[in-house]
Amino acid sequence: MPESKILIIDDEWESAIVKAVQRRLQDEGWNTIIVQPQSQWMVGEEFETATIYAIEDERPDGVLLDVRLGEHRDDQFKGLEILRQIVERYPTLPVLMFTQYAQGPARDTAVRGALRWNAPVDFIDKLASPEEVVLRLRRLMGSSPDIIPIGAHLLVDVGAETVSARQDRDSLLAPVTDIHGMKFEIFRELASAWYRSPGELVPFSRLERYSEGEEARASLRVRIREIKVSLGKALGIQLGANDLIVNVRDRGYRLTPPQM
């Protein structure tokens, strides 16, 4: 799978907060490119030119763009001007505005502009955690990956329809052969929901499609238990009721990465 490229445009690109986000994006397996203007005196217009050139050259899969680019009053909303240009030239390119101005009239105007082009644009607060930035970019880019890593010890390969596990970080991931067919489909549903939004519950109704017989709920329960036993064995741990796949208030299941 080709590595996704994310362009970062921020006048505080050397700040710890941007660096932390950049490192988290790299952990995600994304290639990050920081746009830096040539001049030492950063002004919004230089960012504007540099960004458009960088998009032309790099053809990124997503853009993380600050709103305020420089200290001059004219540069207070420069990022929104750049956004307008991106939206007009590359209307399908996902742009996540990373800004302290995540609310208010300036944002509303920009959103209305993006709506006119049906562009994938979203806003996130600069104080958001790197994890939040990754989750938002995942959804904005619509990436439903073929490989879903769940923590450091589990991996779902959607294309090959396999789940692999390892007992410690140094060992190699080995396929868990017991999980296939409907059991794989159930685990894939849970892993995909977790990848999109870790707090999302997968309701019984969606998982019961992968069960047989009249007692779909009971059959689902059995399959979940079997999945947990197989994965517990592969991970070398005993998985309890509140580990890995959790029944939430008899409404559905959710996946939580194993604590090892």
């Binding site: 700040s15 208010g104 607060d125 994890e131 870790p198 707090g199 409404r251």
Partner: protein
């Protein structure tokens, strides 16, 4: 108009009086009665015309003043908004530096594999935990400014409520996890679709509710999204100790917090629920609360936001905002 008519009629009387007066009245007074009548009508006409002019002038000047007041209020709001943006950005700068350093230290400690001293971990967690509160506080001030603005009508957009809830859960998952609390969400139907509403208002209301619920939950918080023919509902539930029924009537009052009732040090501004309730009402909906307190084993608190399902505005883009 009436005054002018009477005035014209009176003047006509005065003009024709010398000609027709003798023929009309057998016995003339000192001056014929038609002249008296004409003079009286002229005075009456002048009085009514002046009065009407004065009244219309007052109304016009009041209308002008009210237009000026409105324009001034809008200008004031705009200026306040600009200053708020600057203030928000500049106040956020030191916090961004602190937060960035905290994340860097946390990563370095994790990479080194050494045990982190509990007090260091507590400090790092505290910085991370206070961040959502700061974000919410800034956004509450922003909404307070908007609430002071003359109502310019509703801003309806196509919104995916599931995405709104999803991003709020993203925001609070880390903090909830650090405090050993679980936060989950679901929607019924699973593919919830879009609704037409003010996306910022919905996001703001639910963020305040979730912030509250993560703070008071014992170990579990749940957000459920449902819809019927008339409305959609977002229920925010937590397994916290509950709110005593005697406090419930004050819950949505500005500045009220449980600490106020208990005469303790306040840990929040007491603005969140007030703003959430005000916004819900402003958008034709409602925000209700239901709570069961300890020692009941089913103790919990549940807030339900209900907003009407509205039809698409005539000029809207098809894609959801959220």
């Amino acid at each position: 108009m009436l005054g002018a008519l009477i005035l014209v009629f009176g003047l006509a009387n005065l003009v024709v009086a010398p000609v027709v007066g003798e023929a009309m009245f057998a016995r003339l007074w000192g001056i014929e009665p038609l002249t008296y009548m004409g003079a009286a009508l002229v005075i009456l006409g002048l009085a009514i015309t002046s009065l009407a002019y004065m009244v219309s002038d007052i109304v016009r000047s009041r209308r002008r003043a009210s237009d000026e007041d409105r324009r001034f209020a809008e200008r004031w709001t705009q200026v306040t908004q600009q200053y708020f943006d600057l203030f928000n950005h500049d106040l956020g700068r030191p916090l961004r530096r602190i937060l960035g350093k905290e994340r860097e230290i946390r990563e370095q400690l994790q990479a080194s594999g050494s045990d982190i001293h509990p007090s260091v971990r507590e400090l790092l967690d505290e910085i991370e935990e206070q961040t959502p509160s700061f974000r919410l506080m800034m956004s509450n001030i922003q909404v307070l400014i908007e609430l002071e603005t003359p109502n310019t009508g509703e801003h309806l957009h196509a919104v995916e409520p599931a995405e709104v809830v999803r991003r709020i859960v993203d925001r609070y998952s880390l903090v909830a996890g650090d405090a050993n609390k679980q936060i989950v969400w679901w929607s019924e139907p699973t593919e919830f679709g879009i609704v037409y509403c003010d996306s910022s208002a919905v996001e703001h209301i639910v963020t305040n509710l979730v912030d509250n619920t993560v703070r008071y939950a014992e170990s579990f918080a749940e957000i459920g999204l449902t819809r019927d023919d008339q409305a959609f509902h977002i229920r925010v539930w937590d397994d916290g100790p509950g709110i005593a029924s005697r406090y419930l009537p004050y819950l949505f009052d500005r500045g009220w917090t449980p600490e106020v009732a208990r005469h303790e040090e306040r840990t929040s501004s007491g603005l969140g629920l007030f703003i959430a309730h005000t916004l819900a009402k402003r958008h034709g909906g409602d925000l209700t609360v239901e709570s069961i307190t300890v020692p009941d084993s089913d103790h919990h608190t549940s807030f339900t936001l209900t907003l009407p399902l509205q039809s698409a505005p005539s000029r809207t883009a098809g894609e959801p905002v959220a």
